[in-house]
C-alpha cells in the first residue's frame, strides 16, 4: 500500500476500515525518520509514539471519531509539549524539558493525532534557511546540497520527505511559507489571532503565528481546523466565529464548484517583484494563466510602502525579540555558564555562550532600536510605517479578494551561499514580511519546479479572517493541477 501518497481523509478511511492500523502507520513513519536521519529534519523523536498509536488501536477508531485520530504529525521545536524536550535549536535550551503543553499541542493530543517528534529550525526561529541550528542544518530532500528554507525547515522537510503526514511551523516573516515553497508543500500563515501562541516560544509577539504544512489542501484544512480558534490563555487570539474549513471545502465547494463565484485576484506591480528570478516569474505567469482559465479576474495592485517593509520588519522583529529573549539567563532553567565571578557575568556568559551568532546579532539590533535616543527614530517610526503597509493592503483589497505573488525571489539556494552576509539572508524575506506586518493571512501552494526539480511556491494573500477565500481558491487550483501536490522528495539512496 502506498501510504505516502494518501491524504488524511483517505488514511482515516483505511483506519476505520481496519485496512491499516495506527501502529503500522506510525511505525512506517518512525522507520523512515531513522532512514533519512541525514536530512536532519528532527531534533527529538518521541520514543513512545508507536506505543501511543498502539493504545489508540486498542481503544479502536470509530467512524465518528475525529478525523485525525491515529494520524502522525510533527511539531517545530519551538512549540512546548509537556514533559518533552524543547530546544528551539539552541544551546541555551539544549536540555530544557517543557513543564506544560502549548495550547495547540493540547488540541492535537485531544484530537487523537500522534506526535512523532520535534523538528529542527533556525535557532529561536531566526533565519530563512534552517542553517542557524545548534544541532546542524536541515537538508533539502529535493537536493541535499541546498537549504530547506527557514526557519521552519525541519517541519517542511518532515512532510516533503515523507517523515510525517503533516506538520506545524511558526511564521513571523515567512518562516512557514518559505520552507514550504522550497519543499513543494501547501501551507498557511493564518490571520494574526487565529491560532493560539500560548506555549509557542515567542520570537516577535505581534507577528508570530503558528501555521500548518501539508502535501495537499484538504490535509492543510484539517490541520488548520484542529488548532485554530480563541484561547483564553492567549489574549491576542480572536473571538471571531470560526467554522470548519475542511467541511466547507468538501461539502459546499464540491457542490458549487462550477458555480463558484469567480473572484478578482490582485497581482502586484511588476516593479515590486524585480528581485525575483526568471523561473519564479514564469511560475507566477503559469499560475496566473491557470486561474484565468478557471474564470478569475485580475487587477494590478500597488504597494507604495512595500519598499520599506524589510526595514520595518527587521526593526520591529528584533526589538520585540530582544525583549522576549531576556528571560533566557540560566537562572530558572536552561544553560548556565560554568564560570562566573558575579551576577552580571552569570547573565552575560550564559547568554553569550548559549546563543548563536544570528540570535546575538538580532538581540543587539533589537536592543539598539529600543534604546534611549533611538526608540523614536527606529522602533516607533517603524510601527507607524507598519500602519502604512497595513493600509496598502486595505486599499488593495478594495479592488480584489486576494493577492497572488511569489513566496520567494528564488528556489532553494545552496548551503552556505548566504551565511556570510546577514543582510543578504534577510532579503530572502522580501515577499513575505509585509503579510505578517499587516497581520493578514496567506496560503502558500506549490506551483511546479524549476529545471533542476527544485520546487517553486506561490502565495495567496487574503483579507483579515478570510481564510475561506484562500482555501477555496487553493482547492480549485489543486483540482486543476494535482501534479503540483502530494509529491514526496526522493533521495538518492531511497528505493521506491
Amino acid at each position: 500500500m502506498e501510504i505516502l501518497g494518501l491524504s488524511i481523509p483517505e488514511l482515516a478511511r483505511l483506519l476505520r476500515d481496519k485496512k491499516i492500523s495506527s501502529q503500522e502507520l506510525v511505525s512506517f513513519y518512525v522507520d523512515r525518520i531513522k532512514k533519512h536521519k541525514k536530512l536532519n529534519a528532527y531534533i527529538t523523536v518521541l520514543e513512545d509514539a508507536v506505543e501511543i498509536a498502539r493504545e489508540i488501536d486498542e481503544k479502536g477508531i470509530k467512524n465518528d471519531d475525529y478525523i485525525l485520530r491515529g494520524i502522525p504529525y510533527s511539531l517545530k521545536d519551538n512549540m512546548l509539549v509537556d514533559g518533552v524536550r524543547t530546544t528551539c535549536a539552541s544551546k541555551i535550551l539544549e536540555n530544557y524539558i517543557a513543564s506544560y503543553d502549548s495550547t495547540i499541542a493540547k488540541r492535537l493530543k485531544d484530537s487523537g493525532a500522534v506526535l512523532l517528534g520535534k523538528t529542527n529550525l533556525d535557532e529561536f526561529a531566526m533565519g530563512s534557511s534552517s542553517e542557524n541550528s545548534h544541532f546542524g542544518p536541515v537538508h533539502n530532500p529535493w537536493n541535499e546540497a541546498c537549504v530547506a528554507g527557514g526557519s521552519s525547515g525541519g517541519s517542511a522537510v518532515s512532510v516533503s520527505a515523507g517523515l510525517a503526514q503533516f506538520s506545524y511551523g511558526t511564521d513571523t516573516g515567512g518562516s512557514v511559507r518559505l520552507p514550504a515553497s522550497f519543499n513543494g508543500l501547501a501551507c498557511l500563515k493564518p490571520t494574526y489571532g487565529r491560532v493560539s501562541r500560548y506555549g509557542i516560544v515567542a520570537f516577535a509577539s505581534s507577528l508570530d503565528q503558528v501555521g500548518p504544512m501539508a502535501r495537499n489542501v484538504e490535509d492543510l484544512a484539517i490541520a488548520y481546523d484542529v488548532v485554530s480558534g480563541h484561547d483564553t490563555m492567549d489574549s491576542t487570539t480572536s473571538i471571531k466565529n470560526k467554522e470548519s474549513l475542511y467541511e466547507y471545502l468538501v461539502k459546499e465547494i464540491k457542490d458549487k464548484e462550477n458555480n463558484f463565484t469567480k473572484r478578482t485576484i490582485g497581482i502586484p506591480k511588476e516593479s515590486l517583484m524585480k528581485g525575483a528570478s526568471k523561473d519564479v516569474l514564469s511560475s507566477l505567469e503559469e499560475s496566473k494563466k491557470l486561474l484565468s482559465k478557471m474564470g478569475f479576474n485580475f487587477v494590478e495592485v500597488d504597494f507604495p510602502n512595500l519598499q520599506y517593509a524589510l526595514a520595518v520588519y527587521y526593526i520591529i522583529v528584533t526589538g520585540e525579540a530582544s525583549s522576549n529573549l531576556s528571560r533566557y539567563d540560566g537562572i530558572r532553567y536552561g544553560y548556565r555558564a560554568k564560570d562566573y565571578p558575579d551576577l552580571k557575568h552569570l547573565y552575560s556568559s550564559s547568554r553569550g555562550e548559549g546563543f548563536g551568532d544570528e540570535v546575538r546579532r538580532r538581540i543587539m539590533l533589537g536592543t539598539f532600536v529600543l534604546s534611549a535616543g533611538y526608540y523614536d527614530a527606529y522602533f516607533s517610526k517603524a510601527a507607524k510605517v507598519r500602519t502604512l503597509i497595513k493600509q496598502d493592503f486595505e486599499k488593495a483589497f478594495e479592488k480584489c479578494d486576494s493577492i497572488l505573488m511569489p513566496v520567494s525571489p528564488s528556489v532553494a539556494f545552496k548551503m552556505g551561499e548566504k551565511t556570510k552576509d546577514p543582510l543578504e539572508m534577510y532579503l530572502s524575506d522580501i515577499f513575505t514580511v509585509s503579510v505578517n506586518l499587516a497581520a493578514v493571512p496567506s496560503l502558500g501552494f506549490p506551483s511546479g519546479t524549476d529545471k533542476e526539480g527544485l520546487p517553486i511556491g506561490m502565495q495567496l494573500i487574503g483579507k483579515h479572517f478570510d481564510e475561506k477565500t484562500l482555501f477555496s481558491t487553493a482547492w480549485m487550483i489543486q483540482k486543476q493541477k494535482p501534479e503540483w501536490f502530494n509529491n514526496i522528495a526522493t533521495t538518492a539512496k531511497e528505493k521506491r
Partner: protein
C-alpha cells in the same frame, strides 16, 4: 551650623507609592496571591517566565485600579495600554516588568492632607497606573535566593507631584493614601507584609522661585516613622553638602534603620535605560462608561467626607474626628457604639483613651477586638447613669477584656456600684474633715489645691466607690 543658613534650603518632596491589590489571583496568571506560603509554591509558567508563556489580564485588578483612581480624583483614560519595562534582575523572571508607560490608566488626581496647624493642602497625583510585582530576593553568605511567589501580584503605582515641602507633609500624605486604599478595600495595607511600599524623591532649593535641585531617590521606605526619619536625615545631608559647595549627585539611596542614615546604592555608570515599548501580548484596554460608573457606585464614603460628617453630626473636634476616621473599621465601630449609647463625645473619648490604646498595645485590629458595641456600650451607659465612676469603669473594662464577662456581672459581683447617696457620702466626708484638721485649716486659709487631697481621702475611705462629683460638692459646701 548657622541655623539661618539652614533655613535657606527648602525641600521639595515627591512620593511613589506601590500598593498590592488584594485580588485572589495574580495580575497576569491564575496563581494564588496568598501571603506567607513556602517559597516558589504559588508559581506557574507565566509568572516564572517559562518559554512560551503569555499574560492574561485579571479583571478584578482593573476594577480595583479604576476604583482607586476615582478615589484619588484622577482623570481616567478609557483607552490605556500596557508597556514592557526591560531590565535584568533575578527577581524579574521575564527580564521585563509589564507596567504602563506612555498611556497609563489615570493621571492628574489629588489628595487632601491636613497639617498639625489645621491648614489643608492638596497634594497632586501625577499618575496612577497598573503593573505587576517582582519576586523577592533574600541574601545569605553564599549567594542570593529568589522566591517568585510575589512575582506577578497586581500593583498600582501612585506617583505624587513634587508638592510636599516638609517631612510632616510627606507622612501625612502617605497616611492619607493608605487610609483611602484601606477604605476602598482594594489593598490590605499591611506594610509588614509588603502590601504598601514607598519610594521618596527629595531635592533642595533656596526658594520657591528657583527651579528644582538635583533629585535623590530613596527606595523602599516602608513605615511612616522611617519616612520621617529618612527625610530629616536626607535634608540635613544635602544641606550640609550644599553649604560646602558640593554637588548633589542624582542617585538612588537606601535608608538604613540601624544607623538612621541613608546610604548610596552602588553607583551606576549610566541612567537606567528601560527600553519601554507597548506590550504586544496584551490588547489595549478600552474601558466603557458603564464600567467606570460601576466603580463609582462601589466607592464607599471616603475618609475626608466621613470626617467632616462626624464633625458636623457628632460635634467632634477636628482632631477627634480625624483619629476616628483614619481607619474605616474603627469609624464603623465608633458609629455603631454611638448608635447604641448616644453621647458621641463620651464615646469618642472611650475610643481614643481605652479602645485604641488596647489595640496599639496588642498590635491588633478592631476586627479582633473582644468587645462588640453593645458590651462596651453597656459599660459606658453605667458610667453615664452614675452607677460607677470613670476610674472604676477603666478597671471593669480591663477585666471584661481578660475574662469576657459583661460589665453588669463584674459590677454586681464585685459590688462596685458607686455610692451616690448624699447621706452616706456625707458621713464619710464628715469623718475625713474631723480627721484632717491640718489640711482643712490650710484649705480655709486659701490653699484651694488641698481640695484634691481631701477628695482623695474620701475616695480612699469609700474604697473608690463614692461619686467624686458629690464628694467635691459636699466638701466645698462644708468648708467654704
Amino acid at each position: 551650623m548657622d541655623s539661618e543658613n539652614k533655613k535657606d534650603y527648602k525641600a521639595v518632596i515627591g512620593l511613589e507609592i506601590h500598593a498590592q491589590l488584594s485580588t485572589k489571583s495574580k495580575m497576569f496568571c491564575a496563581c494564588s496571591t496568598f501571603f506567607g506560603q513556602k517559597q516558589n509554591t504559588n508559581i506557574c509558567p507565566v509568572c516564572s517566565g517559562q518559554p512560551g508563556a503569555l499574560p492574561s489580564l485579571n479583571s478584578k485588578a482593573v476594577e480595583y485600579a479604576v476604583r482607586a483612581a476615582l478615589a484619588f480624583n484622577c482623570k481616567i483614560h478609557k483607552k490605556n495600554i500596557f508597556a514592557r519595562k526591560n531590565y535584568f534582575y533575578p527577581d524579574l523572571p521575564k527580564g521585563y516588568q509589564i507596567s504602563q508607560y506612555e498611556e497609563p490608566l489615570a493621571t492628574e488626581g489629588w489628595v487632601e492632607i491636613v497639617l498639625k496647624d489645621g491648614s489643608k493642602k492638596r497634594i497632586g497625583v501625577t499618575r496612577l497606573h497598573m503593573e505587576e510585582d517582582a519576586g523577592k530576593n533574600t541574601h545569605n553568605v553564599d549567594g542570593s535566593l529568589v522566591d517568585l511567589n510575589r512575582s506577578g501580584i497586581p500593583l498600582i503605582e501612585i506617583v505624587s507631584e513634587p508638592d510636599m515641602r516638609t517631612p510632616e507633609e510627606a507622612v501625612s500624605y502617605f497616611k492619607k493614601v493608605r487610609t483611602i486604599l484601606e477604605y476602598l478595600e482594594v489593598c490590605d495595607c499591611n506594610m509588614e507584609e509588603g502590601n504598601l511600599r514607598c519610594d521618596i524623591n527629595v531635592s533642595l532649593r533656596k526658594s520657591e522661585k528657583d527651579k528644582f535641585g538635583t533629585k535623590v531617590e530613596i527606595k523602599n521606605v516602608n513605615s511612616f516613622r522611617f519616612v520621617e526619619k529618612t527625610l530629616f536625615y536626607e535634608v540635613e545631608r544635602q544641606t550640609k553638602m550644599l553649604e560646602n559647595d558640593e554637588t548633589i549627585i542624582q542617585e538612588t539611596r537606601l535608608f538604613d534603620s540601624s544607623s538612621g542614615t541613608t546610604k548610596s546604592m552602588r553607583k551606576k555608570e549610566e541612567a537606567h535605560d528601560y527600553r519601554y515599548f507597548p506590550e504586544p501580548d496584551l490588547l489595549p484596554l478600552n474601558l466603557n462608561e458603564a464600567f467606570i460608573q460601576k466603580e463609582k457606585d462601589l466607592l464607599p464614603e471616603l475618609p475626608d467626607i466621613k470626617r467632616d460628617r462626624f464633625i458636623k453630626n457628632y460635634l467632634l473636634s477636628f482632631y477627634d474626628a480625624d483619629v476616628l476616621t483614619s481607619d474605616k473599621n474603627i469609624s464603623e465601630y465608633y458609629e455603631s457604639l454611638v448608635s447604641y449609647v448616644g453621647e458621641p463625645k463620651i464615646c469618642s473619648n472611650w475610643m481614643q483613651t481605652e479602645v485604641l490604646r488596647v489595640l496599639n498595645e496588642q498590635r491588633s485590629d478592631i476586627k479582633a477586638f473582644k468587645l462588640d458595641n453593645k458590651k462596651l456600650g453597656d459599660l459606658i451607659k453605667h458610667v453615664i447613669s452614675g452607677d460607677i465612676n470613670q476610674n472604676t469603669a477603666k478597671d471593669v473594662f480591663n477585666e471584661m477584656l481578660s475574662n469576657g464577662s459583661s460589665s453588669e456581672d463584674i459590677i454586681d459581683k464585685k459590688g462596685l456600684r458607686q455610692i451616690s447617696d448624699s447621706v452616706a457620702i456625707e458621713k464619710i466626708v464628715d469623718d475625713v474633715i474631723s480627721e484632717s484638721s491640718a489640711q482643712v485649716d490650710q484649705y480655709k486659709s486659701g490653699k484651694t489645691a488641698v481640695m484634691g487631697f481631701l477628695v482623695g481621702l474620701v475616695m480612699k475611705k469609700s474604697k473608690g466607690k463614692a461619686n467624686p462629683t458629690i464628694v467635691t460638692e459636699l466638701l466645698k459646701k462644708k468648708l467654704d
